[in-house]
Point group: C2
Chain length 307, copies 2
Amino acid sequence: MARLKIKGLINLNGKIVPIHKAMISVMDHGFLYGDSVYDTFRTFSGYPLQLSEHIHRLFRSATKLELKSPLSHKEIETHIFQTLLAYWKRFKKEDVYIRVILSRGVGDIGFDVHLCPCPTFIIIVKDIPRLSQKYYEKGISVALVSTLRNHPKSLDPNIKSGNYLNNLLAYLDAKKQKAQDAVMKNYKGEMTEATTSNIFIVKKGVLYTPSLKSGLLKGLIRTLLIDMARKNHLKCVEKKITQQELLKADECFLCGSIKCILPVTRCNHKKIGNGKPGPVTQKLMALFPNAVRKCIQEEYCIESSFF
Amino acid sequence: MARLKIKGLINLNGKIVPIHKAMISVMDHGFLYGDSVYDTFRTFSGYPLQLSEHIHRLFRSATKLELKSPLSHKEIETHIFQTLLAYWKRFKKEDVYIRVILSRGVGDIGFDVHLCPCPTFIIIVKDIPRLSQKYYEKGISVALVSTLRNHPKSLDPNIKSGNYLNNLLAYLDAKKQKAQDAVMKNYKGEMTEATTSNIFIVKKGVLYTPSLKSGLLKGLIRTLLIDMARKNHLKCVEKKITQQELLKADECFLCGSIKCILPVTRCNHKKIGNGKPGPVTQKLMALFPNAVRKCIQEEYCIESSFF
């Protein structure tokens, strides 16, 4: 096995080790069945954004799989801070990527949840995967792919789980079309989301994003942006979005906890709008740092001078 | 972590270790994303049934995920035989459960397949999970669940992958209804399969099994049974099967590489037929050992006296 060269630490059931030393059993059902839930976020100036909401979502995902966390919300927070502290001491970097995973744990082959009495709890803290600055300036290209987003009655897209092949297959489709990411439709042909992001379009100055009814993750940055847009007198509508509406949009962007706001300027090799990040996208990108600041000041009860 | 008390060995990238000592990285994409394929089968009197077909299917699953095996078909066979030999020497048992897993391997977070240059290759050899004999004699009860089988354009049910939550959720649904297993419909309402088995029904002496077009795994025992039935002058039809056809069937059974043929005598708490394993099911169960014998004699080129 090649040794991983990543600056990172892993908290594995409470023990913090370098990333390449964190080992789990082959018989962990997280490995055998993808029977795990996770949530992902990052720090800004050292503070994890929307930490409490991410942990709440982790619990909601776990509940949908009848997976019981061995740790309380507060205990998870404490483990995250301990792991961040160890990371900062070791790597002297305050902005990091965080992934919290709760897996079913080790047990014999089978679906009976009693086979696995001890869930595995993991926190990965590592460097943030940085997208090239040019993508933020010029936008990326996406492809509308033939891989459909999971049917909510097959595997609810609101469970952030270790079953990620649906998104991976969509990504592989997009790569074959020389696009940077995929936009996935649901089985009825409605737009849902990209492989690790929510999607917004702009038409005549109004923001639109697929309705949760189309079957997609209720992203926390998606929620933050809807709120931020409305506070800044931008109309934002959640609705069923068709392929034609995406292709004929004036602007388009993706959003997520790691990539924040990423302009999309091509879809299926065709320009969206004039093929450059548009004024509404740019306005939101400009407003975003302040919204993050406010969020963190409120969450951590700190004075504005601290952030 | 609780120590697993299973009689088993694991071949992990060529090294054979006791089951509780087989450890993989948290950063294995098989764990992070369920990005792995597998196949499962068992031995009869020491011989793995349909070995070559299972390895072929593993390769087909892998190809659909653009996952390249580091080992050839013949090399995998050799590793399986080596692991079986080690198992027999240690546990003195010739009939075992075998699971071969090929996972994407260790790499940084992300979908780019180049992040993981070395796939992880695993063979689990362990005791066969034995269903109570009474289930074979009296039949099990199944529930028609609300969890729908994955849409073939979301995640093809013919990819045997480490993304098993769809089936797990169906199983949890069935347990809530006090049934032993679930029967899953597709998004159009057609019957597909149980959580780890194919399904057959019998009506007026004719066997029916859901068509592959309904979106289900082309099970190797399913194929063997269709062939065996026809050779024994039993009509067997692959077709779209409705919920009503299942509920009004004279007989029903599940089949799979581990459970072989398992009668189903109740569905949604209602009797199927007279609530006992029917004559066609019993005939197939009686014919099955000889079909297995023939298969193995042909596959391993052995005289009938050897098996």
